[in-house]
């Protein structure tokens, strides 16, 4: 598995009333295959996730993925670390499903016909073959999230960071997307409010008020989070 290291990495943002700490300086090493991140809204868990592929750069410290500095070697890191957002609509930037996956494959495959074959194979793998030529806007929420994941996974990243990928989905699609994510060969960093998914990870971080409140085995971490959230 890849090694993700946070070396005193923290994020502050300027506000009218002074700097606000979004994520306090954090030091940890992630080597497990499935890492869950749970926490309340605004706790800093998405910021932590975004640090991992350079969507947010640390204001102090540094983040390394397999020794590559996210702030300095962002392009190389992003080739290794894929990112999936809560709302797939923002991620789908081409008119049809197959074209959106093809966009991800442009760097890997220059030949248009071959690229189309690869994209269709990717759609088939994620159960979207029948929608290859449909408008991305015509898909259901679950299908959009699957397509967004297919677009990211088409590039075969070593790590996938998924920021609340099931938040907008119904029960069946939550199960479908959750099973897909937890079954990946890649290292997965999963930010989620779905505590059942979190319990299926190998390690869970609980984020509260911009700090890692708990870091350990899933059941103990989730129990800690529930106890602290519900008093």
């Amino acid at each position: 598995m890849p090694t993700i290291q946070l070396d005193g990495a923290g994020v502050t943002v300027p506000t009218v009333s002074g700097d606000r700490v979004v994520l306090a300086p954090t030091t940890l090493t992630l080597t497990e295959r499935r890492i869950g991140i749970v926490g309340a809204n605004g706790s800093g868990k998405s910021t932590l996730a975004r640090l991992l592929n350079g969507l947010v750069t640390p204001t102090v410290g540094r983040v390394l993925v397999d020794g590559l500095d996210v702030a300095r070697q962002g392009a190389e890191v992003r080739r290794r670390v894929g990112f999936s957002f809560t709302d797939p609509a923002a991620q789908l930037v081409m008119p049809t499903c197959v074209e959106d996956v093809e966009l991800s494959l442009r760097r890997r495959e220059r030949n248009g016909d071959r690229r189309r074959e690869l994209a269709l194979a990717v759609l088939d793998r994620y159960g979207l073959a029948d929608h290859a030529h449909d408008s991305v806007h015509s898909l259901s929420g679950g299908q959009k999230q699957l397509l967004a994941l297919a677009g990211v996974l088409a590039t075969e990243p070593a790590v996938l960071v998924a920021d609340e990928p099931t938040t907008l989905l119904d029960l069946a699609n939550t199960r479908r997307v959750g099973d897909l994510l937890l079954g990946l060969d890649q290292q997965l960093v999963l930010v989620t409010h779905d505590l059942d998914l979190a319990r299926r990870c190998d390690r869970v971080l609980v984020v509260a008020d911009g700090e890692i409140r708990y870091d350990g085995a899933p059941d103990a971490a989730v129990d800690d989070y529930v106890a602290s959230a519900l008093g």
Partner: protein, 203 residues
């Protein structure tokens, strides 16, 4: 889903128009558009509209897509034509209306018979020689594709915003629609930028 969102969507096929090289189609559309704008004749306007419909027939573009494209441009065409009527009279207004309709339909025929990635490949190929002067063809091509996708994407946001305003009983209040719509378009632009960065497409 609104059928307006089908605009710009590629319809796979094997017609002559589908098989024509992208460059020929784009050059053809450019020449056609210039002719529509430069040739000032009511008769020719109808001829150009007929040509666009003929191209749609040859490319077997779905009638529904054409009708929706026409509808989407109708409001703009009506406003512009009304202005022309006021300034120059009815014949000029009709000519302008038919010209705008013909241009919209011709553009739909191009996008319906050409995969966006084929257009991107062509742009990258054409701009390749400019790399030595610092041009980044992949970025230009990506910008082009985003512009294409922005049309149905923005329409989707408009429809969602309209529905949200209606749900709060503010359906006919312009500010209840325009302010959140603009905010959502800007927010979506930021999100799309993040998504592109996350996919390494701007690197």
């Amino acid at each position: 889903m609104s059928n307006l969102l089908l605009i710009g969507v590629h319809q796979p096929g094997t017609t002559v128009l589908h098989r024509l090289p992208v460059g020929v189609k784009m050059a053809g559309l450019a020449a056609y558009s210039l002719s529509v704008v430069l040739v000032r004749s009511a008769t020719w306007s109808w001829v150009f509209l007929a040509l666009a419909l003929l191209a749609a027939l040859v490319g077997r573009v779905r009638l529904r897509t054409l009708a929706r494209a026409a509808r989407s441009v109708l409001l703009v065409a009506l406003v512009v034509s009304a202005l022309q009527w006021w300034l120059y009279g009815l014949p000029k207004a009709v000519e302008t209306f038919v010209d705008l309709l013909a241009l919209a339909l011709a553009a739909v025929v191009l996008t319906a018979t050409t995969a966006v990635n084929a257009i991107l490949d062509a742009i990258v190929r054409w701009l390749g020689p400019l790399r030595r002067f610092g041009a980044q063809p992949e970025r230009v091509a990506l910008t082009f594709s985003l512009a294409l996708q922005a049309i149905p994407g923005t329409l989707a946001l408009a429809l969602e915003t309209r529905d949200a305003a209606r749900a709060r009983g503010l359906g006919r209040h312009p500010r209840a629609f325009l302010t959140p719509f603009v905010v959502r378009v800007v927010a979506r632009a930021h999100e799309t930028g993040d998504a592109l960065q996350a996919r390494g497409l701007g690197d």
